[in-house]
Subunit: 246 residues, 2 copies
């Protein structure tokens, strides 16, 4: 048990929720860093935060959940963002934008995110918990894409593959940034990674605004000449540079 | 505790490993189905299998592991398969072939795989365990691709995205098959899903054999005409049908 004084009462949470929640997260991380995740109990955390044990479980179902306090909120934001899209949205661009909500959550508190990343890499239970969170994000993206691709050949397959690719690209950039202790421009790195996905799977330009002077640009004809033996991805690169997209 | 008679001794495992291991898996699944995963203890399993508690932990680190008895072997096979590839292998085709090892493991025992699928969907702890297994497969594929793409621009990013796409496509087909109680041709469904990934990311033909009569086919010129406004994926579909690839 921690020797920190108890400064509050068990029912504090009913009167001022956010400060207590924040205090629990801060206390938990201080203890995780000082004595290790496995050697910290919920009792230790509530003692340091100065609240009762029941308060902890009012905010967090388990000790794992205090490590990822904002994922539920972020998942709800993502679900709402996807639900409010329209049929005119480019579906791949939409899921890329949805993934950026996760990056924003991490970037809101760089020091906390870096600390948590280090902790998660050391504690297998937390790693497993994080994978289940990532899986829920991926299913939210895939669910949206499955709706958008409904009725198309291989719609569900395409949805699952794109959702996985978006999550992988986002996490590739996010983890590089976390490994570099949060140095550098996380948003730019994630944008770069997601642009790669958009190039691979879709035009990524979203709905085009009505051009003054009509749609001549849309009606432009592009001719690509390629050797039959060239790998498809090289042909696609060639088209991209011909179309001037990046 | 189960009332099944104990037919063996605690040290059976030292003399005939595979039968005891199989007996433990069979006993565990019979109990999981009869009384539920959460209400089955390791003691119940060893009692039904007729072996001692120590035998169980000689084969399985935990109760979760008995649900996925073959993943370690499959992961080792996958790692070895990838390590034995050569520079001439098409990297995307190679990871697709590696993913097929997982399908083969599931298809070896359809009834067991279908039963496990139903169990895993009901028990959150098993779902989390399965996600960590899937993650290890994905990292094995990504590690191979990162080596193959080393030094290329965005090599690690491309590796992570392709590995995630391969796993998502494989699992899309695998889960459809499991949801259909193992009816239908699992291998054909997985082949179809992986062909989609190969079309998206690479030519998927691997190294071409030297054609009798020279390389005329490689030198064929393909002309694709497309409106500039068309989404890139539509252009790619057009090229694919022009090239006659599927």
């Amino acid at each position: 048990m921690s020797e920190a004084p108890r400064r509050g009462r068990a029912d504090d949470a009913t009167t001022s929720k956010p400060p207590i929640r924040d205090a629990l997260v801060a206390a938990a991380f201080r203890l995780f860093v000082e004595r290790g995740y496995e050697h910290t109990t919920v009792d230790d955390i509530v003692a340091l935060a100065g609240v009762g044990r029941r308060s902890f479980f009012r905010y967090f179902p388990s000790k794992e959940d205090v490590v990822f306090p904002d994922h539920e909120r972020c998942l709800a934001e993502m679900t709402a963002f996807l639900a409010h899209g329209g049929d005119a949205d480019d579906p791949v661009a939409r899921v890329c934008d949805a993934a950026r909500l996760v990056l924003r959550m991490y970037a809101e508190n760089t020091a906390f995110s870096v600390q948590r990343y280090r902790l998660t890499r050391r504690v297998p239970g937390l790693r497993a918990y994080e994978l289940s969170v990532v899986w829920r994000y991926e299913r939210a993206l895939a669910g949206y894409l499955r709706d958008r691709f409904a009725g198309r050949p291989d719609g569900a397959l395409r949805a699952d593959v794109i959702a996985a690719a978006v999550v992988a690209a986002h996490n590739n950039a996010l983890r590089s940034w976390l490994r570099a202790d949060g140095e550098g421009d996380a948003a730019a790195q994630v944008d770069h990674a997601l642009a790669h996905v958009k190039r691979t799977f879709g035009d990524g330009t979203g709905p085009r605004p009505a051009a003054a002077g009509g749609d001549e640009r849309d009606d432009d004809v592009v001719v690509v000449v390629s050797r039959r033996g060239a790998p498809l991805w090289r042909v696609v690169q060639e088209i991209e540079s011909t179309l001037g997209r990046d």
